[in-house]
Symmetry: C2
Subunit: 455 residues, 2 copies
């Protein structure tokens, strides 16, 4: 039997689902499975954390998969799958919405429960999947078979990761998925052994429970999927999130406290706070805001990141020194935030021409600038022509406001949104109630442990 | 017979030594050689451009080498060589100074002539030399044997290179030596063929007259020494000077004009010019001035360059964007000039700590900065700690004035001079009459051809 400290026992009291909750969810699941299988069209299976008995109290997401014959075409699967799901939802008198991840599925509301009805192929091996959802039943079976007495440990790991801001494999978080938490619990044998091991993690740590890895990965943490030797379960985990977890693990081992599971609510970041921090930093803050493209966060967020990087590169190519940048996607609007060491530069700008050993081009270049009013040059540096001409934008803000911003490699849907328009704000003008917490977190950036320790 | 354009004939009229000049110099040389050989201690030989008949009118440097038995020790060579040279100078009633290049030698003033009396070893092959001066007699013999009717062409090449600012293999110029000009004349067959060939030069051009190269070189122009297969005669030529010559060659072929040989004197750069240019550029100019170390330019100039590069690296590491930098050595004082896009930065500065996988160091780092008043952090980025702390110098000028400047890798004698003290000036304060032409050339930097074309 694992020994837990009092703090962990108390946490478990708060996060373990109540027997009533568990019974109720299983009852609903049972009725849904029955209704699906009665149709004779598909097998049904409960997957996700409820099925694995690793769900945290209040996390009432129920996932029911509809398993169809793999010989069906994709169109048939979608048509029959959604048709059956709609019929079942109607029989329950439950409102539903169609949603699209890699696969279309039906999201149904049954009392206080969010139920996803997901059609997939009933393949016989995880390596034969036709799309990612086909893999889920294998994950569920694997965890069910191996989780043994570690359910509580998984709850602690999930709650610990959530509180530290590193839970979730979505593109915004880039953290630990539920399945990853479960596998780590199984591999290390529980919450405490995981923390101890994590405190010694290095980038490139490899965990291969079934010792069957079929390829190598470049990711900072590699956890070979026990049901698919060619997949890294931790592929979405960024190096930053991985080591924030490491930092939290070390901090907790040194001084176990409930705050690691239930952080006190953060003090909201107000406009006066903002003005004060800005005055102290004396940097140039620039915010670029536009309508959020109408796609899921997992589509939009990587595009926001790509766009911010492209704009950051443009700023740096234009010699504006960028201290930091970050992105935020909200329901209606998205924001790219840039902090510059200076927002203004003198007009003088070095412009590189062709090398002298390209005689035609270099002669053209020299002739062109000999007729212009330049600051210096053309002169030769290491065999190339250089001329010092006027910088097109002596204020970074003007650069971000110029239509040429659309020429950098923005994400596709971000570009479409920005083609309609975007706003650039500077300094105090960047304040926006909707983005208050994002701006606050940006300017007062801290690792999770630093936040706990500073309180 | 080579056909020359009228302009070249006119130039030759001005730069060819007069018969009287030539006769006089040869007469002095003959008397010196006689006096040396009468001693019975050494053979004597006239070397340099006078001996090769490739000297430009007014360039009255006479080089007489004293060739000693190679079995003498180095000390004996110096003692006997300088002793004999002093005796000869005394016999001529001429004032003299001892000088030190790689070898000690005697500089003697005979009427209007500067005569160097240089002791060296009379080795039988150029590959057996004990120091660089031993090679000179071989160069002289080689040119004497191969120059044929190309003396005038060498004069044109030298004058053309001088006027373009690319003549001289000293460390400040990094241009074409006299010997290099002679070899280029021989290889290409004269002034015009050289220009035509040069207009098509690329970096890595290799010229091996005797087809005996014994090693490969990385230099932009490689001219294997006909008397030493392991030596590149153009080793001192920088890529910039090489292609300034290329540019001039193309410009001259397009439009041959006397200006390529005799540039009109440059308009002096005055203080009001300086103020005006500075106001237009709006950059931050910083000048660092100190006593010139008491060594030859070929020792000091590379040290100035190295020091300027080290200080430039420091500025850039400190996030001050440097547009350009250059160095100037004058008799008493030397100046390092830096032009920055901004001379002031906000206090916020990212400071990188250890990676989290170094647990002891990273814990120490986090603990240290948790107790300090920081702008942001410690936070984690790609597995490393980062903290945003106060920049030690929010003005570049303060950074250059701080004693820590002595910690960067300055040249040895530059450091010794700066340990006594240095001055930092900013903007208009950088003006210094002694450095007027250097500052003017720095701010109005142009390639030689651009200068001619702009007139």
């Amino acid at each position: 039997m694992v020994k837990r400290c009092a703090c962990e026992e108390e946490v478990l009291q708060r996060i373990r689902p109540t027997p009533e909750e568990r019974m109720y969810i299983h009852a609903v699941a049972g009725r849904l499975i029955e209704a699906i299988e009665e149709s004779g069209m598909a097998q049904a299976m409960m997957v996700g954390s409820v099925a694995r008995n690793t769900f945290v109290r209040g996390d009432r997401d129920l996932d029911i998969f509809l398993l169809f014959d793999p010989s069906l075409s994709r169109e048939e699967l979608v048509e029959r799958g959604l048709g059956l799901a709609r019929k079942v939802a109607a029989a329950f008198g439950a409102p539903y919405r169609e949603k699209y991840a890699e696969h279309p599925y039906l999201s149904v509301r049954i009392n206080a429960l969010d139920v996803d009805l997901v059609p997939c192929y009933a393949v016989s091996h995880a390596t034969e999947i036709q799309s990612a959802v086909d893999r889920t039943p294998f994950h569920t079976r694997y965890i069910q078979q191996h989780i043994g007495g570690l359910s509580d440990d998984v709850l602690l790991i999930k709650q610990f990761a959530k509180a530290g801001g590193v839970y979730g494999s979505d593109h915004m978080t880039e953290g630990f998925s539920g399945y990853l938490c479960e596998l780590l619990a199984i591999y290390y044998g529980g919450f405490s052994p995981l923390l101890e091991a994590a405190s010694r993690w290095k980038p490139g740590t490899i965990i291969d429970i079934e010792r069957h890895a079929a390829q190598s990965f470049d990711d900072p943490l590699v956890v070979i999927d026990p049901v698919d030797p060619g997949r890294n379960v931790a592929a979405a985990l960024s190096c930053t999130r991985m080591f924030e977890f490491v930092e939290l693990a070390r901090g907790y081992m040194e001084d176990p406290a409930e705050e690691f599971f239930f952080p006190p609510p953060r003090k909201p970041f107000s406009r006066p706070d903002f003005i004060e921090v800005l005055a102290r930093r004396k940097t140039t803050l620039l915010a670029l805001t536009f309508a959020t493209p109408d796609y899921t966060p997992d589509t939009v967020v990587p595009q926001l990141r790509k766009s911010a990087q492209a704009i950051r590169d443009l700023l740096e190519r234009s010699e504006y020194p960028v201290n930091r940048s970050d992105v935020c996607m909200r329901e209606d609007r998205s924001m790219l935030l840039f902090e510059l060491l200076t927002g203004e530069l003198p007009a003088v700008r070095r412009h590189f021409g062709p090398p002298l050993w390209a005689p035609v081009n270099s002669a053209k270049f020299a002739a062109k600038y000999l007729q212009k009013d330049v600051f210096s040059g053309p002169y030769i540096e290491g065999g190339r022509y250089v001329v010092e001409i006027a910088r097109p934008f002596t204020r970074a803000r003007d650069l971000l406001e110029s239509p040429s911003l659309l020429d950098v490699s923005l994400g596709r849907h971000v570009r479409q949104s920005m083609e309609i328009g975007w706003t650039v704000d500077e300094g105090e003008g960047c304040w926006d109630d909707e983005f208050a917490s994002f701006i606050g977190e940006f300017l007062q950036h801290s690792s999770p442990l630093s936040r706990i320790r500073r309180r």
